[in-house]
Symmetry: C2
Subunit: 372 residues, 2 copies
Amino acid sequence: MTATPVCDDGAAAPWGTAEFTERLRAVAEDRYHDRHPFNVRMHQGELTPAELRRWIINRFHYQRHIPVKDALILAKFDDPALRRVWVRRIQDHDGTAVGQGGIERWLRLGEAAGLERPALWDTARVLPGVRLAVEGYVNFCRLRPALDAVAASLTELSAPGLMRTRIAAFERYYPWIEAEGLAYFRTRIGQGSRDSEEALALVQGWARTREQQERAVAALTFKCEVLWALLDAVDRASDSVPTGPADGVSGDAARLVSEHVLGDVSPLVSERTSGDASPLVFESSSGEVSPGVVPPGLSDSVASSRARRPAQRRPRAARDVAGGDAAFGASGAAVQAGTASASISTKVPARHPGAPVQTDTPVVPGPAGGPP
Amino acid sequence: MTATPVCDDGAAAPWGTAEFTERLRAVAEDRYHDRHPFNVRMHQGELTPAELRRWIINRFHYQRHIPVKDALILAKFDDPALRRVWVRRIQDHDGTAVGQGGIERWLRLGEAAGLERPALWDTARVLPGVRLAVEGYVNFCRLRPALDAVAASLTELSAPGLMRTRIAAFERYYPWIEAEGLAYFRTRIGQGSRDSEEALALVQGWARTREQQERAVAALTFKCEVLWALLDAVDRASDSVPTGPADGVSGDAARLVSEHVLGDVSPLVSERTSGDASPLVFESSSGEVSPGVVPPGLSDSVASSRARRPAQRRPRAARDVAGGDAAFGASGAAVQAGTASASISTKVPARHPGAPVQTDTPVVPGPAGGPP
């Protein structure tokens, strides 16, 4: 056995750049979620429409938080030049105008799969395991040093290959999903290559000691675990979720629960704290302020964009019952999912008359279910 | 005395929008730092060149952190439309290309006043009271809810008026500062009006209860205190700082102190942790990673921008002594200020032959001095 080289002070000597890079790439390949059973089934054409839709809804919870974690990373940079590089990631997902950006493209993927936008914005439909995975990643970027947060982004080293595999699989096995719905995947091939090259150069430049290099590898490992855990939650949900339209909870029942849990809630307050606000960026201690709500008069572009958001189109019963995630246990989440299921499109995409019938299977466990 | 109206639950009733807005405007007017004695003297033409330069250097510490606090605020927003509005603030200061943006314009203000860029980037030259004020504001935006952080930005309600006063004062009383150096102030007139209108609409929309309204007013009051405290520190420094070239510490003395404090530090490490990195965005627990350093090969635009940063141009003695702020007490900071004073331009701006002679007065207290 060869002894590990050490520095004069007894610490392990840093790896050379080539070896360090090889270790990062090995993690990004060996532990990437393209090997997860759910992704394997997806790419072999074995997912049911309900499973694909469940994945689209739950993965959107990750997608909508990408600009949040990138803003938290940007705030760690002292150099305007570096911030200019990183701010582009925020704009890649938010777009620079209404109707642009990766979040918009994911919403269109949902529409291509027969899901209306409110179904994706509704955080009550997100599986607990997915919430925890996303929250863990965002807080990692919030709390860890820049080196760790940027190293965690290096899963993008493997993303372009996954995108190519996915596009081919969707075109071959899931033709009922409209082709233009795949624009998100196509766009990410180029963006992911560029992003990962930039991040790799930063990590190589910053990690100079063995301790820093090992921290970078650990951060990338953690990120792979986040993506894996997200798919675990989506995969296991299919084994346990109740079935049946709206989870057996009608609009009237939802209203009864609403009054029981929330008391006399004015429509104004209940709409402003509707379930589509992410609790992760919902930092008001009072729980009554939704930063996601742009008041009228701010700007035309914002107002028109806001009009595309789901709260205004959600059925009244859903608005009444939605009082902020903090107010709900598992049963409340199930009720919200039940009412929100009305937002699943009943229209089969016109260009794909052979599309399967909607199953309306709820994507969160019922009141009696634990975390998946 | 009229009793305060109360809600059914006993809480004070919210103010109407007009009264709430009036209370915010009253704070932004009554407590704004345009009334601070230092600003009053500035606008009456009573500042010495050394005082103006001290202000330019110390206020830059605030300027360079504006994109940091705005990224922390952006990370609280769940709505892509709102993030698109707010990301523009980051770009207003960082620019979208090398040589653009508010930070660049402030650096040019410094150059117009005879200060080379390294003097502004050098955090060791920043007064402790200024550091604390900026750190307090950034952490307020990091830790408080979106309502509070956005309300704190409403000092911009009064900024355009201050900018106009300042431009007139500089043109009249400080003609030795080149006119193009005032571009920052001119740009902020329009940006400040737009920013404050947007932020006011958000705060009006979010603060629906009296408690929220009072929190917004308190946040704006806090922000006024931040700006006031910053000027307090700049103002008082003139009473106590030692005088004399380079604070009596020559380059050789600085090197001796460097070796005493840091031991055998390789040039690579000492350059990467040079004193121009802000400790506020310098989150590595090891203190050895500077997120501000863009490694070679990242991109041409970044690399060329980085080449404009001061580390490469700082005298060797200054690089050797700069080992990260955490390694220094007050005496170390004074030594850094002493060596960095070599970066003050000895050239009188060509277009203003009547410009006063440089005084080279250090802007941080000497080894024996406490916080100003």
